[in-house]
């Protein structure tokens, strides 16, 4: 690590050695501690009394659910979506956040065997549920046939929608909506692929369904 001060006017973030130029750390604290209105540079700023108080504590709940075969008991903020639980708390970042509004399908996982949008699923509601994410699809080093088919068909480019596509494809196959490419296209339309791999996604699903 460099011991030199930056050329910047910005104060270094470590408190011990304050830069002599520019506003010091104390400036922030002082600004942050001003209660009520303060007029700075022509604007009015109403700021709180420093660090957050416990007043606004958000309700949380304890939930036990099974994720990829492992039973987990977690305390979640009631507002936490299954997607955020997976990504931010359980370290399972394979499920993707594309829109956080149920409009893209990147977050698709299986809950009790059904494909759903994990972004619109509140984690607090999943007591006793079984969740399967992309991390739980392969058996050890052996890929799920649909995962392998995605590689073989080159059914992805950037890869970001891919976990959702694959979980959705698993659901589509289980549901039996794979009788024709046309049927697969319709039943896979809840997963947007901006790289435009649809033709190959359909092939991968068709191939995997046919093998069953």
């Amino acid at each position: 690590m460099s011991s030199e001060l930056p050329e910047s006017a910005v104060p270094p973030p470590t408190g011990a050695s304050e830069s002599t130029s520019g506003p010091s750390r104390r400036t922030f604290v002082a600004t942050g501690a001003a209660v009520g209105g303060a007029v700075v540079a022509g604007g009015a700023f109403f700021v709180g009394s420093g660090e957050a108080t416990a007043a606004g504590v958000a309700p949380s709940s304890e939930v036990s659910l099974t994720v990829n075969g492992t039973r987990r008991t977690v305390t979640v903020d009631n507002r936490t979506s299954l997607l955020d639980l997976l990504r931010e708390h359980l370290g399972l970042t394979g499920s993707k956040k594309g829109c956080n509004a149920g409009a893209c399908g990147a977050c698709t996982v299986l809950v009790d065997g059904q494909r759903v949008n994990s972004c619109l699923t509140l984690a607090v509601r999943l007591e006793g549920a079984e969740v399967t994410t992309i991390e739980g699809l392969a058996k050890g080093d052996e890929l799920h046939p649909l995962q392998q088919a995605f590689i073989d068909e080159d059914a992805f480019q950037c890869g970001y929608c891919t976990p959702g596509q694959i979980l959705s494809g698993v659901g589509c196959i289980q549901e039996g909506h794979t009788d024709s490419p046309e049927e697969i296209r319709e039943w896979m339309s809840g997963n947007i692929c901006r790289c435009g791999c649809y033709v190959k996604i359909v092939r991968a699903v068709e191939q995997t369904a046919g093998r069953k």
């Binding site: 460099s2 930056p6 050329e7 910047s8 006017a9 910005v10 270094p12 520019g22 922030f28 600004t31 209105g37 540079a41 022509g42 604007g43 009015a44 700023f45 109403f46 709180g48 957050a52 108080t53 416990a54 007043a55 958000a58 903020d77 507002r79 399972l92 970042t93 499920s95 993707k96 594309g98 829109c99 956080n100 509004a101 409009a103 893209c104 992309i134 991390e135 392969a138 890929l143 392998q148 590689i151 080159d154 992805f156 480019q157 950037c158 890869g159 970001y160 929608c161 976990p163 296209r185 319709e186 809840g190 947007i192 901006r194 790289c195 435009g196 791999c197 649809y198 033709v199 359909v202």
Partner: protein, 730 residues
């Protein structure tokens, strides 16, 4: 290409990062596990122009978990050193939290940092910002344009006047947003005075340089990392304000900060393909020989930066004609700054030019392909340079044959399938692929494996795979024994991952580095008395599967492994470079002919694409399987532009009226039935040893026009606005 045998290049291989991507283990920008990270959420301006009069963050600060609310009233002043690089357009870039001005709807006005994502999001909704609002100017057709960029040859006015056939056509192209599936995201961590940023970018070096400039840091104090990019299409070609916000928030809070844009924020937090109003006047003789064209082009830019793109070249070089005049004006608006989007400039111009060519063909009663052939130039008439290669005519021939063009009835509205009118259309496409300086490093280890590194990106085309292919052949190794690394500003620098430049540029540097390493090994062998290759002319030695041998006598040789072991070398290493095309004097373009069959329910105004074909003159194809995927992607993108995509601005206050994937429509699976892509065999060695032309951009150029022309053939209705929706067809 190097004298090495080609085993990997040209082979239809699967992606080397495929397993990571299908198992969810590829880590995108927001997914790196950084200890003690806190979450940041931006508060967006809810006016289109004006100034902030007050910010009340009390309620937000009271919410449990909120660490800090930062805005211009308390943010440190940032140096914002000039930085002409990093793809910053001319102008004065947006400076986050440095003053009270609001330049566009959605501009960041504050950021809330909290220990949980939920708290940060809620905190952001609790910050009350008051404004002194002015009416923004956001309508391209009602604002004052800037000074035009001009081009002229011959006398276009006179040429037009003297033309037997004259068309005067105005087209309107909607604003498009890239909408990569991965939202833009940044994780920023300060370690003392050093800053590490994990950022969704197509150019780690550009982001690196911009961050150093904004914070006034020495270059070696900043590191930008990005091994996986969840799509880009151009949206990652600049360092956007939120990246600075994240680094600033990390600095102020002394915590690593993660900031992910919401899908909505992607519509004003990153750029877009600007909307256009494009008037084209075209003159030809009765046999379809073009005589003159006048292009009046207006496009959006922001009030604070002037964004330009290559919307003029296609009108200068695609077809032969003596008289051309162009005026390209950007119109400053109270919007955020646009950025290049797939096929930038060319895709927009091609919709206009290729639609107009179709109109002319119809007017003259000439087949659209024949009309294009009659105007095929023998050189680039804008520079009088020869074409390095131009096989557009062959694209027509192959495409017409493969698509069944002869089954097209030239009379519109003549083919019916139940309630559907069927139409066929085609268009030509052209793109000017980039060739930019790049460096790469190759290291061959004693165990016979190699690592190759360059600070490029892979937003989806398959840089990992294709560069590994190139490196494997140059080193004489198998794909499995070569690892290509990218996405780290500590690696040798490259230019942006965009503009179809990556293979020609980075690939050339990779070949150079690998050639050097191979030659070092060969030199070591032929000078080593204990080597079976001792005394052999170095030029006669090739390497295959990690084994050096005399060309034509595979028995005489030895492996890298034994050579390095015997010589007590832990590794061999070289840095390669590519300096651009140099003094190469030829017109280097990639081409396509794109064909579309559409079904139009004219009664209900529905257009459905039935099948599409692209035929490409894109030079050597390094990775056919991946190149096919790219072509499919370009066509799907073009379907979006043609039929669905339209960012709508509410001009009353400048807000985006459809900022989400349920309202800004992109194609879904059911919109895309059948696509075929054909790459013509061949190579183009203009300024690059690999013989490539780049293909990621050209595959989207012309697609929208082919669809629009098919709609005309189906219905007899010419729609000059994109996207083509029910309103225009009822």
């Amino acid at each position: 290409m190097s004298p090495q045998p080609q085993a990997a290049v040209g082979a239809p291989l699967s992606r080397v990062d495929g397993v990571l991507k299908v198992t969810g283990k590829a880590e995108y920008a927001a997914e790196h596990d950084i200890d003690e990270v806190v979450h940041a959420v931006i508060v967006d301006a809810s006016i289109g122009r004006g100034r902030i009069t007050s910010i009340d963050s009390r309620a937000a600060e009271k919410h449990a978990g909120v660490v800090r609310v930062i805005h211009y009233g308390n943010a440190p002043k940032l140096p914002y050193r000039d930085n002409a690089g990093s793809n910053n357009p001319p102008g004065r870039r947006l400076r986050v939290f440095q003053d009270d001005k609001v330049l566009f709807h959605g501009q960041p006005v504050a950021v809330v940092v909290a220990t949980t994502l939920e708290a940060a999001q809620h905190g952001a909704s609790l910050v009350k910002v008051r404004y002194d609002a002015e009416k923004p100017s956001t309508d391209l057709t009602k604002a004052e344009p800037g000074e035009p960029t001009r081009y002229a040859r011959g006398d276009a006015e006179a040429g037009l006047r003297s033309s037997a056939i004259r068309l005067d056509l105005t087209y309107e192209l909607a604003r498009n947003h890239h909408n990569p599936m991965e939202p833009h995201a940044t994780v920023a961590r300060w370690d003392g005075n050093r800053l590490t940023v994990w950022d969704k970018t197509q150019w780690v070096m550009g982001t690196h340089d911009e961050i150093a400039a904004v914070f006034g840091l020495p270059a070696d104090a900043v590191r930008v990392i990005n091994p996986f990019v969840g799509g880009g299409f151009g949206s990652g070609l600049r360092c956007w304000p939120h990246t600075i916000v994240a680094a600033l928030a990390a600095r102020v809070t002394r915590r690593p900060v993660k900031l992910v844009l919401s899908r909505k924020q992607m519509y004003f937090g990153t750029g877009f393909r600007p909307s256009y109003e494009y008037r084209l006047r075209l003159g030809s003789d009765r046999r379809g020989r073009l005589n003159a064209a006048i292009h009046d082009i207006d496009a959006e830019t922001s009030s604070y930066e002037t964004f330009n793109e290559a919307v003029m070249p296609a009108g200068q070089m695609l077809y032969s004609m003596p008289n051309v005049r162009q005026a390209y004006r950007t119109v400053p608006l109270d919007v955020n700054t646009p950025i290049w989007m797939r096929g930038p400039g060319f895709a927009s111009a091609s919709f206009v030019i290729e639609s107009a060519m179709d109109e002319l063909a119809h007017e003259l009663g000439i087949d659209p392909i024949e009309l294009r052939r009659r105007n095929e130039p023998s050189e680039d008439e804008s520079t009088n340079e020869p074409f390095s290669t131009r096989r557009l005519s062959e694209c027509y021939t192959v495409g017409a044959r493969e698509f069944g063009w002869d089954r097209r009835n030239p009379k519109p509205r003549s083919t019916r399938d139940g309630d559907w009118l069927i139409g066929l259309g085609m268009a030509a496409g052209v793109y000017d692929p980039g060739r930019f300086p790049a460096q790469a490093r190759a290291r061959l280890d004693a165990d016979g494996t190699a690592v190759v590194e360059a600070a490029t990106s892979d937003m989806g085309p398959g840089t990992y795979t294709s560069q590994t292919q190139v490196a494997a052949d140059a080193l004489g190794l198998t794909m499995r024994t070569v690892t290509f690394r990218l996405g780290d500003s500590l690696y040798p620098p490259t230019s942006p991952h965009g503009g179809s430049a990556t293979m020609a540029s980075v690939g050339s540097a990779v070949v150079d580095a690998c050639d050097q390493v191979r030659q070092q090994a060969i030199k070591l062998a032929v000078e080593d008395r204990e080597s079976p290759l001792y005394g052999v002319n170095a030029d006669d030695v090739v390497v295959r599967n990690g084994r050096l041998h005399v060309q034509g006598s595979p028995a005489r040789g030895e492996t890298y492994k034994s050579l390095l072991a015997r010589n007590d070398r832990s590794h061999l290493e070289a840095k390669g470079s590519y300096n651009g095309p140099g003094s190469e004097r030829s017109a280097y373009f990639a081409y396509n002919a794109t064909f579309a069959e559409v079904a139009v329910d004219a009664n209900l105004g529905l257009v459905r694409v039935r099948r599409m074909l692209g035929v490409y003159d894109a030079g050597r194809i390094i990775s056919p399987k991946l190149a096919e995927s790219q072509a499919f992607g370009g066509i799907v993108g073009g379907i979006g532009t043609a039929l669905l995509e339209h960012t709508v601005t509410d001009h009353r206050d400048g807000r985006i009226a459809n900022p989400g994937l349920a309202d800004y429509l992109v194609p879904v699976n059911a919109d895309v039935p059948d696509i075929k892509a054909i790459y013509l065999d061949g190579e183009d060695n203009a300024g690059n040893l690999l013989g490539v032309k780049g293909l990621g951009e050209v595959v989207q150029v012309g697609v929208a026009a082919a669809i629009g022309n098919a709609v005309f053939n189906a219905t007899g209705r010419r729609v000059r606005q994109l996207p083509i929706t029910a309103e225009a067809l009822l």
